[in-house]
Amino acid sequence: MSSSDGSPLSRRAWLTTTSGVIAAGLLKTQADAFKLDAQEPPGTSPSEFTAVADRLVTEVGARAPGEQPKRYLRASDADLSSSSRSPLQDFHGIITPADLHFERHHAGVPAIVKEEHELLVHGMVERPMVFRMAELHRYPSISQIYFIECSGNGGGIYSRDRMPTEISVQQIDGLVSTSEWTGVPLAWILREVGVRPGASWLLAEGADGAHLARSIPLEKGMGDALLAYGQNGEAIRPEQGYPLRLMLPGWEGNTQVKWLRRIEVTDRPTMTREETSRYTDPLEGGRARQFSFVMDAKSVITFPSYPYVLPDRGWWEIKGLAWTGRGRITRVEVSTDGGRSWVDAELQHPILPMATVRFRHLWNWDGRETVILSRATDETGYVQPTVHQLWEARGEGTAYHQNHQRAWRVASDGGVTFGLGELV
């Protein structure tokens, strides 16, 4: 809005000028819809922004200078065994840009030359075979959008002793990412080598320094498992297993072995370190759950979330991501009153199995302190539990598979912090 002489006129000034002739109710609506003290931006003349090109064509594009999302590295992540987390709060869709896909390495990222990489498939097979990458590329291929989540994602955030508040969704739950993956179904390669009767497990092994290995039920290998070499349309990134990784849709990230170099068909699990000493889940009663492959349904609100500060009450879109390792998300509910009442959020299509789905809920914040939460339901009827329900079911002995509801406290000054507080 400008006055007739071209000088900017603030909306507050306009409202003040005109308030005498506008009913109080309408003024209230105007106040809620438009920030009262908002100033119209000074503006730029068209000639200023069209006259000069910033750059010409380039071989490889770059992000806008003002848009520099980054993975989060903890102070300890200089170790060979470490992780980095995806900036969930910066994403608009379900696809994770490949250079921002979360990382979890057990011995760093190996330098592998594609032309030298080989996959050995042997064990209880009729024809043990070695495949070079060019040969795997020659097989028929498929592409699918799948999430990968580290089973430690969000682990240890809530405990009775420790409930941090100034922590971001990226720091808590950034060990999940979604890509379009391209490759050869493992079942087609197992068909080539001829699985012998009696086989029931696989061992998948990486070419990294950890030679990370996991035992996988053959049934998964004959199902939706994928030998992936493509990620979001390009060759898989080194951090994601270049030139070849195992994709096991919906399963723990560590089972989806990167830098895949060997698959052994067996009739029993190998009981590697990563399926005994690690990635097992102590339960109550002195037991530990093993081969807990599937990632249960989960949702996280990515906006608003710490450290964002809502500058004003009024209309805000609560946004987030939901996913399940058991197929499709069927429902995401949002609560804006600390879990006392819930409403269905909108689910953004596509709603794909074993892929993240976007949800959103339009919220008219009244400016009072509250807690917002989300909870996902998947097609099996599983409802994302509260942290207390998880503790009740499992005890507090594991930091894996912590898919409980997350909460954000919105203070009256608009500040957003993590945690339930005393409301739930």
Partner: protein
């Protein structure tokens, strides 16, 4: 084709129970596409129409190649090489190759504890060989594939058996005079062996 999620959990359970018995249940799993959406896994992918029985891209793997690459060790000892090692020899190996990361007595770090014998009733605070590792063979498998971290696979079989003997002794599992070899290692009874149960989560309304 749809099969219940129990198929995966169930087949794992059966195989676990039968480990070491020389019996298998795998025949049924052959050629069975994994269960449908909502049941932990999806159906398999359809081959393109007209696909041949075999493409035969790739090369036959020689026995020598398989032998060179097949580094894993199974709980029954399959994959263990010839060789042996004593607790005393293992202490020397440990002091040279392991101490810097795992500490003088295996508890100090700075990296993972390798000695932990704390008994646990509810859940373990420290998870180590003595109180949480269910199979002794995993030590050989893991050390050969991943340790020492900056030179994985560099220990000889004798050195590997020796450092395993040292670790098992320090964890209170074997006596000081027990020698580790391909015969003795699979027979070691680990305190945590009976603690592990197969995943019973199946989706649905029940939180597990």
């Amino acid at each position: 084709m749809r099969t219940p999620a129990l198929r995966i959990a169930g087949s794992a359970a059966v195989v676990l129970l039968l480990t070491g018995c020389g019996v298998d249940d795998g025949t049924e799993a052959l050629g069975v596409a994994s269960s449908g959406a909502g049941e932990g896994a999806m159906e398999g992918y359809a081959l393109p129409t007209g696909a041949p029985e075999r493409f035969s891209f790739g090369a036959p793997a020689s026995a020598a190649r398989v032998a060179a690459w097949d580094i894993d060790v199974k709980p029954d000892g399959e994959g263990l090489p010839e060789g042996s090692g004593t607790v005393a020899d293992g202490e020397r190996v440990y002091m040279v190759h392991c101490l810097a990361c795992h500490g003088p007595t295996g508890v100090e770090g700075p990296y993972n504890r390798v000695v932990a014998t704390d008994p646990w009733e509810e859940w373990p605070v420290n998870r180590g060989v003595g109180n949480y590792w269910p199979y002794a063979t995993t030590l050989y498998d893991y050390i050969r594939r991943a340790m020492p971290q900056l030179a994985p696979g560099s220990l000889t079989p004798d050195e590997t058996y020796a450092v395993i003997a040292f670790l098992l002794h320090r964890n209170g599992i074997i006596a000081e005079d027990v020698v580790m070899s391909r015969e003795t290692l699979p027979a070691v009874e680990m305190p945590a062996r009976g603690r592990f149960v197969v995943d019973d989560r199946t989706g649905g309304r029940t939180i597990k």
